[in-house]
């Protein structure tokens, strides 16, 4: 009867030893390799710090002008540019300029990192079904596992700081770009690919001349989602030492500062909306040829 009333657990002592064993071996691992890994990420840290300094130290009007210019290049919409300028002016006026710049820096670096790693990974996945079925579950785990759980090993390995924060953001934000690159390439019209083959295109010519250009709208949707998700990670990343808009939010939670939390939260949302609109607009222009829009 006992068997059904109580779950046949592993012995308490055994369980403790089991967990301790894992902790000990990971600690051992991080003692041995922690430094090497840190050195490996050194350039990334250097770049992140440089960008953050650049954004915070540059005169604010120039930063706004550059951001507005980028928004214009992306969207070709004056409305969006005006909105962007207004949003940044208000953010600055409300005393969140420096934090916003820090957030902008980490988001930009995280997105670049995700693109640099994610697109080639997506291409590999599209190339072989074996690779796809190996990577898909990993992506599933990355997207569903609570971020706090992978923060632990990252912090054990690299301590508190910008780089572990960056890695945490990337783990969370990279899946969509990998997935959508893979999907986009797999959805490329078979007939067009066959035409490329029939004219003697080699692997590179197929990839860069046909597959990537035709998958671009999907790849771009992936970039867009990656940006959104890395913004969503800003608060959590601030728990392990990333400066930016997340930090005040964290402070607001522990001290019940409603206004502080709201303002910084809204600033994050504003950044998200600007990124989203500009990149969507850009994505739409990329596919203009599909609708037979007038190009003269």
């Amino acid at each position: 009867m006992d068997f059904f009333a109580e779950f046949p657990e592993m012995g308490r002592q055994d369980l403790r030893d089991f967990k301790k064993g894992i902790d000990a071996s990971f600690r051992e691992f991080s003692r041995t390799y922690g430094e090497a890994i840190e050195t490996f990420f050194e350039p990334l840290l250097w770049f992140l710090v440089w960008l953050e300094k650049l954004l915070t130290n540059a005169p604010w009007p120039i930063v706004i002008i550059v951001i507005c210019a980028l928004a214009w290049l992306g969207s070709r919409s004056w409305k969006l540019v005006a909105g962007t300028a207004a949003a940044f002016l208000v953010i600055g006026y409300l005393g969140m300029w420096e934090d916003t710049m820090a957030t902008l820096a980490i988001i930009s670096v995280a997105t670049m990192l995700c693109i640099v790693l994610g697109i080639p990974l997506g291409i590999l996945m599209a190339r072989s079904n074996r690779v796809q079925s190996a990577i898909t579950p990993v992506l599933d785990i990355m997207q569903t596992i609570p971020s706090f759980v992978y923060l632990i090993p990252v912090v054990m390995l690299l301590g508190i700081g910008k780089v572990p924060g960056l890695i945490a953001v990337c783990i969370y934000a990279i899946p969509p770009i990998v997935r959508l690159t893979n999907l986009g390439i797999r959805l490329v019209d078979k007939e067009v690919l066959e035409a490329a083959d029939a004219f003697g295109a080699d692997y590179r010519q197929r990839l860069f001349g046909v597959q990537i250009p035709l998958a671009l709208p999907n790849i771009f949707a992936g970039v867009n989602q990656t940006i959104m998700m890395s913004l969503a990670m800003v608060v959590i990343a601030s728990m392990i030492g990333v400066k930016g808009l997340g930090l005040p939010v964290l402070r607001a939670i522990s001290n019940q500062y409603l206004a502080l939390g709201l303002l910084n939260g809204l600033a994050i949302v504003t950044l998200a909306i600007i990124f989203d609109r500009v990149s969507q607009e850009y994505g739409r222009r990329l596919q203009a040829h599909r609708q037979g829009a007038d190009h003269g």
Binding site: F199, G200, G209
Partner: protein, 348 residues
């Protein structure tokens, strides 16, 4: 006899997980249906032997699923055969390395597709130059060389349009320009005009025949449309369920269909307009009556004979030399649709 440009021998294609094993059943006489039902493999092609003469248009005709696309894709090896040989200019296409095959596709053969298969993100000019850029020719020079073909197919002024901005007929002109721009000797056309409206289709046929008069390419043209086949084919091969059931001069196929399937296929054509006097004339060195060029359609011949009130005409070749005589009764008999009963296989 013209030189053979492409020689396809004993070609078999079985689709499925284990084609080699399924080949055993095919050799033991399995039909397409039984192979599918009993062994879960699709018989794409069975023992195809086709010679494609240089500088001629060879039409391959058959109903949907008869294996036309599969066959034409063996010529540039977009599909690997299960068994058989494909020889182009004495060279075994199936023995080529990947590198050699790419060279072959870049320079020797080019292809036009049923659904156009243009690059949607490239302009008309860039699409037409596609084969050249694949060869590694610089954009500028490629564009210059492609321009000639854009003009030739009547698309001058549309260079900077995207495919989605063009009608189907215009898109296929781009497809044709793209295929011609590489100066390949072999042109593979898989139902290239089938997706077009009848009027546009006739236009495109005219363009093709016009070009062929000047370029003398070796063309393999796939269609399921008999009128189209008769209009442009120098030779016709007919496929059914992956097998070639008759090949030859279009005239021959109409006058001597190999079996009921083909009789059925050709029963609705306008025989008076398709059959030429050379096919029903009696050979003769001398004859009386009005002179009729050898490729005069029976319809026109009858009209000529009737208008001068003669019972016989003189058939002359392209140089005006008499090669035979045609009798008005023979012409009328040939025009009558043969009865099902009398269309027993008469040859092969």
């Amino acid at each position: 006899m013209a030189k053979i440009k492409i020689k396809i021998s004993n070609l078999y294609k079985v689709f499925g997980d284990n084609p080699k094993a399924a080949m055993e059943h095919v050799r033991n006489g399995a039909t397409k249906q039984s192979l599918l039902d009993d062994h879960r493999h699709v018989l794409g092609l069975r023992d195809i032997n086709i010679d494609i003469p240089e500088k001629k248009i060879k039409v391959v005709m058959g109903l949907s699923g008869s294996g036309k696309s599969t066959l034409i894709r063996h010529i540039n090896r977009l599909i690997e055969p299960t068994e058989g040989q494909v020889i182009v200019d004495g060279e075994d296409v199936l023995a080529m390395s990947q590198e050699e095959l790419r060279e072959f596709r870049r320079h020797k053969s080019s292809m036009v597709f049923q659904k156009f298969a243009l690059l949607p993100h490239r302009t008309v000019a860039q699409n037409a130059a596609y084969g050249l850029t694949i060869q590694g020719i610089a954009e500028g020079e490629a564009a210059e060389r492609a321009q000639r073909w854009i003009d030739r197919v009547g698309l001058g002024g549309f260079e900077n349009h995207f495919p989605a901005q063009l009608s189907g007929g215009m898109q296929q002109r781009v497809g044709l320009a793209r295929a011609l721009a590489t100066d390949a000797e072999i042109l593979l056309m898989d139902e290239a005009f089938s997706a077009l409206d009848p009027l546009i289709r006739t236009d495109m046929q005219d363009i093709l025949l016009d070009l062929q008069e000047e370029l003398h390419k070796t063309i393999v043209f796939i269609t399921h449309d008999l009128d189209e086949a008769l209009r442009i084919g120098d030779q016709i091969a007919i496929l059914r369920d992956g097998e070639s059931i008759q090949q030859g001069d279009p005239q021959d196929i109409i006058l001597r269909p190999a079996d009921d399937y083909i009789s059925d296929f050709i029963k609705d054509i306008n025989r008076g307009r398709v059959i030429e006097v050379r096919s029903v004339m009696a050979k003769a060195a001398r004859a009386s009556g009005p002179k009729l060029p050898m490729d005069t359609a029976l319809e026109d011949a009858l009209q000529t004979l009737a208008s001068v009130g003669k019972d016989t005409g003189t058939v002359v070749d392209h140089d005006g030399k008499t090669i035979g005589k045609i009798d008005i009764n023979a012409a009328i008999t040939a025009m009558a649709r043969p009865d099902r009963g009398t269309s027993q296989p008469r040859y092969k």
